[in-house]
Symmetry: D2
Subunit: 161 residues, 4 copies
Amino acid sequence: MKKMIIGVMGPGTGAKAQDLENAYELGRLIAERGWVLLTGGRNVGVMDAASRGAKAANGLTIGILPTSDKTGISPAVDIPIITDLGNARNNINVLSSDVVVACGMGAGTASEIALALKSDKKVILLTDDREAKAFFSQLSPNHVMLSNSPEAAIGLISPGS
Amino acid sequence: MKKMIIGVMGPGTGAKAQDLENAYELGRLIAERGWVLLTGGRNVGVMDAASRGAKAANGLTIGILPTSDKTGISPAVDIPIITDLGNARNNINVLSSDVVVACGMGAGTASEIALALKSDKKVILLTDDREAKAFFSQLSPNHVMLSNSPEAAIGLISPGS
Amino acid sequence: MKKMIIGVMGPGTGAKAQDLENAYELGRLIAERGWVLLTGGRNVGVMDAASRGAKAANGLTIGILPTSDKTGISPAVDIPIITDLGNARNNINVLSSDVVVACGMGAGTASEIALALKSDKKVILLTDDREAKAFFSQLSPNHVMLSNSPEAAIGLISPGS
Amino acid sequence: MKKMIIGVMGPGTGAKAQDLENAYELGRLIAERGWVLLTGGRNVGVMDAASRGAKAANGLTIGILPTSDKTGISPAVDIPIITDLGNARNNINVLSSDVVVACGMGAGTASEIALALKSDKKVILLTDDREAKAFFSQLSPNHVMLSNSPEAAIGLISPGS
């Protein structure tokens, strides 16, 4: 059986300190459970922190890059997928993830959540952004779940794990 | 000088009666001002209603289709662009529009708004969805504008027109 | 009925003088017949020459740009479609064209011909590249046609016109 | 250091028996050298055979799927990347590969070779198609190499290995 792929999406340069801490811990916990981590692959923000967390626990990390080569890739990405699609690659991020965890908030992250919901993917929000939680929860009540910590988010991915 | 291209984005099969009415009127007003209308091109919902409105005023209509051929295209689309990109085509919709008007709300529409904001496009919301208005206004206060009618939305595109 | 869209594909900076002359004439003849011209939209090579030819005959020109904004667009493009997809936009070029004319040869042009054939599109070659003609003719004998002049190419699009 | 990613591209349902045999052996040899195999991910033709060969030697296999879900995926793919891009995903195949090996020939394969050459990737042809070899060799003499067997192709990837 193929391993579960968990996508962790969140801001790049605009990430807050708490988002980075959460992303690192999400990456670590995902790797510990034997799952594969998928991110947007760049060397900034939530993508980079989650990938570093996963590598700290010997996980496998995939990065779906928006660029035409490996410029700006996180050193913690094992498998770089080079798309040259700009933000259109956000749809690949979510389609390739069995579950999406949104860690923090921004325009790019909001696009990934919305694209995930459009394709009926399960999305777990880990953010203190009230308006985001209110909006996405009513947009797709059956697919959006809220969490307050990386541990809680992981618990929502697979309750029994 | 190239003509202004105005993107009208909104739900397909999930559009409400009010959204359809607004979309038709938006299309009509856009065409009257000599602008080009761009939509997602399908024969349902806001895309179709806006395109029909524009044709009623002899406008030019572009449809950016997610499919691999013209199946399901709105008969009111003059210029079909066939992308075969699924929802990734949403990024083309917003990049190709000088201004984006979101008419109604849904997951696909939310992705288009978020992608537009990610690329610093001006987005005008025409919806009664309070959570959407609260979320996007705080996400990008300098690029999001609210309107209560098609006429108000058109006025925000180009105040003097 | 929607107007026919004819795609003219060919080298950018690597185009030969003869390719540019042919492209200009193709654009002119396409516009004269009332068809819409579609190209890759940039201000170089075959794309630019064909678009200028079409505008000289008051045609309508669409440009499918690989970039994220209008930088580098041909001034002869009426309808710019901004894809930010790099060379992946080549698939949109051919899917959106009812018939593809390849004017000259290069790696990008070869990719467009091959993608067109993969989608069972009719492709007309206007080039003196013997190896290209031999290769594509045997790859897809039912979809590839050879021409020796812009007039001959136009004749192959629609024999009776 | 990241592992080398070798892309093996070739026909799906149209693959010949010799292509399938070569693809299986290419996959096996790639895995034996500790490289990662990347293919178009479907359960037919060269993609499937190469992935099975790599798994037989305990390699890691990536599949870049054109579809919107895992329908039709090769069971020998470890890491499915779901693009929903149709043939536009061919550009991701080649951009994500450090070296491309074309095993057999067809319209899709030709598009991948051409896209690879457009991005200055090294392409190794393993095919008995004379016209293909003549065309691509003159199109890009510095990036195209010819081989007569899987072993020879592997030798061209990394002469000292």
